[in-house]
Structures are given as C-alpha cells and as structure tokens.
C-alpha cells in the first residue's frame, strides 16, 4: 500500500495537470513528441509492474508492444477506418494472449534464466514479423486509415490522439496504483521480497505471477496500439531487444519500485536523448550524443542509488547534510 504522501500526490497532480495543459502552449511537433513519450511511459509502467513490484525482470516487453502495434495494423480494414472501440481491446487481448503463453512457460524459471527465456520468446515474435511476409517483412507496413469513432474521437488528429493517450496514461497509472494496494498487489509485493514465505503462508504464487504477467502484457499491447496509431507505420524493430533493454533502462533510471519512477524514467530518458542530440547546444558534437547520454547514465548510477526519484533526497542531503525520508514505502 503506497500511502500517497502529500509530496507525491502534489507531484502527480502537477505532472498530469502539466500534461493536460501542455498542448495549449506547444506546437504541432511538441504535441507529437509528448504523445510519443506518454506512450513510452505507459509501456514503462507495464514493465514497472513486473520488475518493480513482482521482481520479475522481463527482457521481452517489446514483443507485447509490437503485437499490440501489429494487431492495430493487421486487424484494421484495408480501405476504411476502424472503430477503436473494438480495435483497441482486440490489440490488448492479442498481446495479453501472447503474454499468457510466454508467462505460463517462462515463469517456470527464475532469476537470470527468466530474463533470458522472456528474451527468447520476444525474439521469436521478432523473427516472425522480420522474416515472414505476414507483417511486411523488414520494411514494415503502413496503417493507411487511423481508427476513429465517428467524428468525435478521430485519432488521426494529433490533439485528439494526445488527449486519448493522456487519458490512457492516467488510467494505467491509477489502475496500477489501485491494483497494487489490493490483495492482489500486496501478494505480488510479498512474492517480490520472499516467495518462499508466501508459499508457506498458503499463497499459490504461480497464478499471481502469471496474472501480473498477462496484465503487464496487455498494457504493453495498449501502448503498442497507440504507437501504431500515432505513426501509422509499424516495423519489426519495434519488437527488437534494443527496445526491451531501453525500457528496462528507463525504469531503473527513474527508480525501481515506484510507479512514478517509470513516468520519470521515460520522460528523463527521452529528454536526455533529445538534449544531447541538440545541434543548438552541442553544435557538431551533437552527432556524438550517445557519449553524453552514457556519461549521464553512469553518473546517475554512481550518485543516485534509488534512481532519479531519489534526486530530491540527494539534493536535500547535499544542502542540509542530513537524511530526509520522503519515500517511506509502507504505513
């Protein structure tokens, strides 16, 4: 039960309010850009559920993301716009179904072996779209008609898609926050710390983990759907392990064990990339943007053991020389 301390609540309210107001001041590209980050944030949240709250390090999250995205393209009619009312649940279900299959098998393994089995299943999905004509092969396929619902919610309009994504981001966050304080979430927290103890107390831990895995896969599928709708284009690289890796990096960077960590991580990771890529700031050295990003990440690991979410603590410590506990987990 994460008691929402006042600081955290204030942060979240400001954060989401900021996102809601942002399109009023932003240009067309800004809206696009933040839509993308919000989609990554949803994806990061899905992984945070597994890694941060159940201790299952899934190295194949991109597969569920990709299945959601390919689902959106392949299930859409060729010559007309689909209604997202059925398309979105269909994509989520497709991703969740694959998660059921992957989870049922891979949860038999533990630790690093689990990491690698999830990777293996993700690579299988990757090669299916990469090496077969099913999904257009290596060049990917286009979504010609973006889904909508009459004219009211037409997802081909950037602003509509922005708020649509924002709603789902908030929904995902709130859903997970509620989930984590329920019986189900508490059991997951117990499993993360000591699964043996949970078994001894009478919990059948496997169904809990599997349910978490499916939930996570479904949310990743939701993110995939949104991504396909945003770009109107899907490519096998959406399922590559590089994305799975980048997601892990996001949530670790943000701070494991906190839903906000996933939000902060997704935003920070992409902003840092853009920052170091910026010609305006770094001139011709911007082409070596990975150097700056790499050094920043190393500095984060060295100085912020809790991830960026520990930054306020760290600053406070530097300023006042004492430790302040802001992130008390339990009540």
């Amino acid at each position: 039960m994460h008691t929402i301390s006042q600081g955290r609540l204030a942060f979240l309210l400001l954060f989401f309010a900021g996102l809601a107001l942002y399109p009023l001041i932003a240009g067309e590209y800004g809206v696009d850009f933040v839509t993308k980050i919000m989609i990554y944030a949803i994806l990061a949240l899905s992984l945070e559920l597994l890694v941060g709250n159940v201790g299952l390090v899934c190295f194949g999250q991109a597969a569920f993301f990709g299945i959601g995205a390919y689902g959106a393209v392949l299930l859409s009619p060729q010559d007309a716009s689909a209604s997202w009312l059925w398309l979105l649940p269909a994509c989520v279900a497709a991703a969740a179904l694959y998660a059921l299959f992957v989870g049922a098998l891979s949860l038999r393994t533990k630790g690093v072996y689990f990491i690698m089995v999830t990777l293996a299943f993700a690579q299988m999905a990757y090669y299916v779209v990469h090496d077969t004509p099913l999904g257009g092969g290596t060049d990917g396929i286009y979504l010609y008609f973006k889904p909508g619902l009459d004219s009211a919610i037409d997802l081909s309009k950037p602003h509509t898609l922005y708020y649509f994504t924002l709603v789902f981001l908030v929904w995902t966050f709130v859903f997970l926050a509620i989930l984590l304080r329920s019986h189900f979430g508490r059991a997951l927290a117990g499993i993360k710390i000591n699964e043996q103890r949970m078994l001894a107390s009478g919990f059948y831990t496997y169904p809990y983990k599997l349910a978490a895995f499916i939930t996570s896969g479904g949310i990743a599928g939701l993110a995939g759907f949104l991504f396909a709708v945003k770009d109107g284009f899907v490519n096998p690289e959406m399922m590559s392990w590089h994305l799975s890796g980048a997601l892990l990096i996001m949530i670790i960077l943000g701070g494991l064990g906190y839903l906000e960590g996933a939000l902060i991580g997704a935003f920070a990771f992409i902003f840092l990339q853009e920052f170091f890529k910026s010609d305006a700031i770094f001139g011709s050295f911007a082409k070596h943007w990975q150097l700056g990003l790499g050094l920043t990440i190393i500095a984060c690991v060295a100085l912020l053991p809790k991830g960026l979410i520990g930054l306020p603590d760290w600053i406070h410590k530097r300023l006042y020389g004492e430790k302040r506990i802001i992130t008390e987990k339990m009540s």
């Binding site: 509620i178 329920s182 043996q196 107390s201």
Partner: protein, 252 residues
C-alpha cells in the same frame, strides 16, 4: 484439552529422503498431537530442517506418507498444506523488512481470503485479514510494535513476528525451526511463555538447539542422528536414555 484418545493433527510415516546416494532422512515417523510441544533435537546435519521442509511441503520426500488432519497430504503442495492448517517458521528471518509488523501479519492472513482477484479494494480494509492479523499480533505479544517497520525491530521481536506471521494464517499445526536462535535470556523467556500459551490449541513441532529450553518446555522429544531417529520419548526418559547420552548429550 486432554482427551483419552490423542488428537493427532500431523503424522509422518516412514519418511525417507535421499540426495543422490546420500540418505538425509531415513524412515522417520513422527506424530504431532494437539496440546503438546514435540521437540526434535540432534546435531547439525542430523536432518531436522529437512524434516520440517518435508512436513511443510517444501520438499517432496523420496518415500513415506504424510497425513494432515486425517487426510493424506503426501502429494499436496506447500500452499495447500498451509491452507489446511499447517504453519511454519524459518530458521532465518523471513519477515518483510519494509512492511510494518501489522502488514506482515495481514499479508500472511490474506492467504486465507477467498477472492484474491478483486483488485479494486484496498487490502488494508479487508476485515478478515485485518482481524486475523490483529489477533496474531496480540497473541505474539507485539501489540506495541504494530506500526513499526519490521526491519527496525529487535532480534527477539523479529523472531516473535516470525511466529505471529504463522499464527495469522490460523494454523492448527506449527512447525517452528529454531525460534530461539540468537536470543538473549529475557527474550528466550518471553518466547517460551508464548509457546506455552500456544500449545493449548496447536500441535507444535519445535526444532531447537537450546537444550535447557527444550527440556523445560517440551512434552515429547525426538532425537535424530544422521537422519535416523534413535529415541522418542518424554524429556525425563530421554535424559536418562543411554543411547542418547553417548550419541548426543555426551558430546554436549
């Protein structure tokens, strides 16, 4: 509760455990009755912890039979046994250090709740698990520490919490693996008093190294050497048993 026919809650018959060629447990039989504390003693490596692991369902034995409350539980998984009244504690602390004492117990009690999939209700408002947790905490004498994070408790309190987490699942049989390990004199006294209280309604298996405590509190003592039972009797009889003296107490 004294009855003419002993109320046997957990029974293990001819349990054998082999690891490759090594026999860790050799044809051990044991019966736990309500209202008694049954201690198992033996040197390190005698197979005491393995026995607990087998009885609680963590390990499936190579051979032998286990009955829990009169039902054949040999093939039951650990959670199933736990749900049928078997509670165990561990030699090393298995408490959740970030959680409060209360939450530790509430979480354990939650295992008994029948609809764990309801994801929209706040677990802390669940009446069943809350009341189980509260009574377990009271029984274990941790009322004052209810809201403290478990990681900040003293060692003795942590061991008490370990027992409280067992009690929260409302077990009938308790398998306790060295609950007194590392305790000071005062803490030991508190724990022994607690065990004495629990004995009325539970069948307790106690694996313990502290001989003074065992002989003070146990109703029955089983002595294991190299995986086999060499004697099983009342404390007085064990004390005077020649085999036990040479094999175990003599070396003490």
């Amino acid at each position: 509760m004294t009855t003419a026919t002993p109320d046997i809650l957990l029974q293990g018959r001819d349990i054998t455990q082999r690891w490759g060629g090594l026999v860790a447990i050799n044809q051990v039989s044991i019966a736990l009755e309500r209202g008694t504390i049954h201690a198992v003693i033996g040197t390190n490596g005698a197979g005491k912890s393995t026995l607990i692991n087998i009885l609680s369902g963590e390990i499936t034995p190579t051979a032998g039979k286990i009955e829990l409350l009169g039902k054949d539980a040999t093939r039951w998984s650990q959670p199933r046994r736990a749900r049928h009244g078997l509670g165990r504690s561990y030699q090393r602390n298995t408490i959740f250090p970030d959680f409060t004492v209360f939450e530790n117990c509430r979480l354990a009690a939650q295992a008994q709740v029948h609809r764990p999939w309801i994801w929209w209700n706040n677990a802390q408002k669940c009446k069943i698990s809350v009341s189980s947790a509260e009574s377990a905490i009271t029984q274990a004498g941790l009322t004052e520490a209810t809201d403290r994070p478990a990681g900040l408790l003293s060692h003795g309190q942590k061991r008490q919490l370990e027992i409280a987490m067992c009690l929260a699942t409302r077990p009938e049989v308790l398998l306790l693996d060295e609950p007194l390990a590392g305790m000071g004199a005062e803490e030991t006294e508190r724990m022994l008093a607690l065990l004495n209280n629990l004995k009325a309604n539970h069948a307790i298996l106690l694996v313990e190294h502290d001989m003074d405590a065992v002989f003070r509190i146990a109703d029955k003592i089983t002595v294991m050497v190299n995986g086999s039972v060499i004697a099983s009797d009342t404390p007085d009889q064990i004390r005077s048993n020649a085999d036990v003296q040479t094999a175990y107490l003599g070396a003490h």
